[in-house]
């Protein structure tokens, strides 16, 4: 606001009544709340699915790494490197337009889901690797000496502990997955919370109410998910 004379008559005293040159009109934004909540459901759906796929793939990547096979190890390392060292925005964009260049056409929904799942898998595989370091190797040997195959030893002895140790980083990734759904805009996703909000914004120009509302909904979703993850953990990881 270079060289501006502060103006009298534009009250900024009442919170929420007026911000810079903008008068809040909440009723109009609240009218679109049902649409936004529908979007929130889609956002949660994508986050949960991407997390389920991410965990499954991350376990596979961890097995690849443990297998001792050079090729499988290289696949795992490449995946983790790309997922962790490039922007999620780029990953999602590449799923849609990168594959699109080769004639593989994925809908915005699938592009976003696969993009986030790819990112999740990379990060989670690293979390699992860290967790594995905390599990003494003697446990695997003990399991093997009881006659379990390597896979059985991993599945019955190591993996449950690995998931327990990496549970907190996993909830972090879950929150990150929820927030990443907003990147779907670059692949024309318009049914998730961010997509619905920005379309309402284009139509009405009520930018600040709509995005404030979206922020609150995002906050509530992440809280609900982290809290229920805590409850789930208490049930799953009982001794």
């Amino acid at each position: 606001m270079r060289g501006r004379v502060p103006r009298i008559g534009h009250s900024c005293i009442l919170p929420g009544a007026a911000m810079f040159n903008y008068n809040f009109r909440w009723n109009q934004a609240l009218n679109s709340l049902p649409q936004m909540l529908e979007g929130a459901l889609v956002t949660m759906e994508i986050a949960i699915l991407s997390m389920a796929i991410g965990i499954a793939v991350a376990i596979l990547l961890t097995l690849f790494r443990l297998s001792g096979n050079r090729l499988l190890g290289a696949i795992s390392a490449t995946w983790v490197e790309i997922a962790r060292n490039t922007p999620a925005l780029f990953q999602i964009y590449m799923v849609h337009f990168g594959l699109g260049g080769f004639g593989v056409h994925l809908s915005p929904y699938l592009s976003l889901l696969i993009g986030i799942a790819f990112n999740n898998a990379g990060y989670l595989a690293e979390n699992f690797r860290g967790a594995l370091k905390a599990i003494p190797e003697t446990q695997t040997r003990a399991a093997r000496s009881l006659g379990m195959s390597p896979l059985q030893a991993f599945k019955n002895v190591v993996m449950p502990q690995m998931l327990r140790i990496s549970f907190l980083p996993m909830t972090n990734q879950m929150v990150w997955a929820i927030l990443m759904t907003s990147l779907g805009a670059v692949v024309a996703m318009n049914t998730d919370l961010y997509g619905v909000t920005s379309e309402l914004n284009a139509r009405t120009f009520r930018t600040f109410e709509l995005f404030a509302l979206a922020a609150v909904i995002f906050y509530v979703i992440t809280k609900v998910i982290t809290l229920s993850a805590g409850l789930l953990a208490a049930r799953l990881f009982r001794y």
Binding site: S107, T204, R206
Partner: protein, 269 residues
């Protein structure tokens, strides 16, 4: 009595010393800079040349307005959805960004009289059978998020109850998706469509038909309460047409032919 007189005198002096309330028009002239929000991935209205300098119809309109005001123009690049936050937060004074003057939006921002009007065209990928705009029914269609044509097209898809609508973030992504075959068709301004078909950047696309919507009148925008500035912008637009500058810039950026009529028959503004 004496104190009352004295107080009255002080108050009167203070009142005289206070500057008259300055509005945005005063602010712009005083600061010597007119900051315009312009969308620069929307040729021929706004784009960048080989040296990355902003060019286009909207850029020239901002420069002309700045010249008229006797200030220098500053082009601030924005996307379509960012126009309003840029205005409201005071990071730009006006937006010269092909903003359609809908009644819904006029509840929030102040519109000038229209400075341009777009016709829209239906563009399809070459592999698809499409004779008229109505053949878009049931297809995967898309447009640039937040534009007039996107709002229209999404409404049509909802009305048809079949097919799919996809709003991409910018014009380039829409045409990339169309060229890749991810979209069957799009609706874009005739200007943009012709420029993109001609450029060869997006192979395998063709213009099919005109989109049957009311011409998309676009206006300059600023804050709703800045009547002084809105009045000035109105007169500026009138003068651009009157002096032939409008036709000149149309020829420079769009091509031969007459620019769109900015008046509506049978009604006052």
């Amino acid at each position: 009595m004496k104190t009352t007189l004295f107080t009255a005198g002080v108050l009167a002096a203070a009142a005289l010393a206070l500057p008259a309330q300055a509005d945005k028009l005063d602010d712009i002239i005083a600061s010597g800079t007119l900051r315009c929000a312009v969308v620069l991935d929307f040729p021929p209205m706004g784009s960048r040349d080989a040296n990355n300098t902003p060019i286009g119809f909207d850029v020239d309109y901002c420069n002309d307005l700045a010249t008229a005001l006797g200030v220098t123009a500053e082009i601030v690049e924005t996307t379509f959805p960012e126009r309003i936050p840029a205005l409201m937060s005071g990071s730009v004074d006006i937006a010269v960004a092909s903003t359609s003057d809908t009644l819904e939006r006029a509840k929030t921002v102040g519109f000038s009289i229209p400075y341009y009007a777009f016709e829209n065209a239906v563009v399809a990928r070459e592999g698809i059978e499409m004779a008229t705009w109505e053949d878009m029914k049931g297809k995967v269609v898309g447009a640039t998020a937040g534009t007039y044509e996107a709002i229209w097209l999404e409404g049509k898809v909802k009305e048809w109850g079949e097919g799919e609508f996809r709003p991409y973030q910018n014009q380039a992504d829409v045409f990339l998706a169309l060229s890749q075959g991810q979209l069957d068709a799009t609706v874009a301004t005739v200007e943009v469509s012709e420029a993109n078909v001609k450029s060869g950047n997006f192979p395998g696309i063709k213009i099919v038909d005109k989109a049957p919507m009311v011409p998309d009148y676009v206006a300059l925008i600023t804050l709703r309460e800045e009547y002084g500035l809105i009045n000035y912008m109105n007169l500026f637009i009138n003068q651009q047409v009157r002096t032939g500058r409008y036709a000149e810039l149309y020829k420079k950026w769009v091509g031969e032919g007459a620019p769109a009529d900015l008046t509506v028959q049978g009604v006052y503004r």
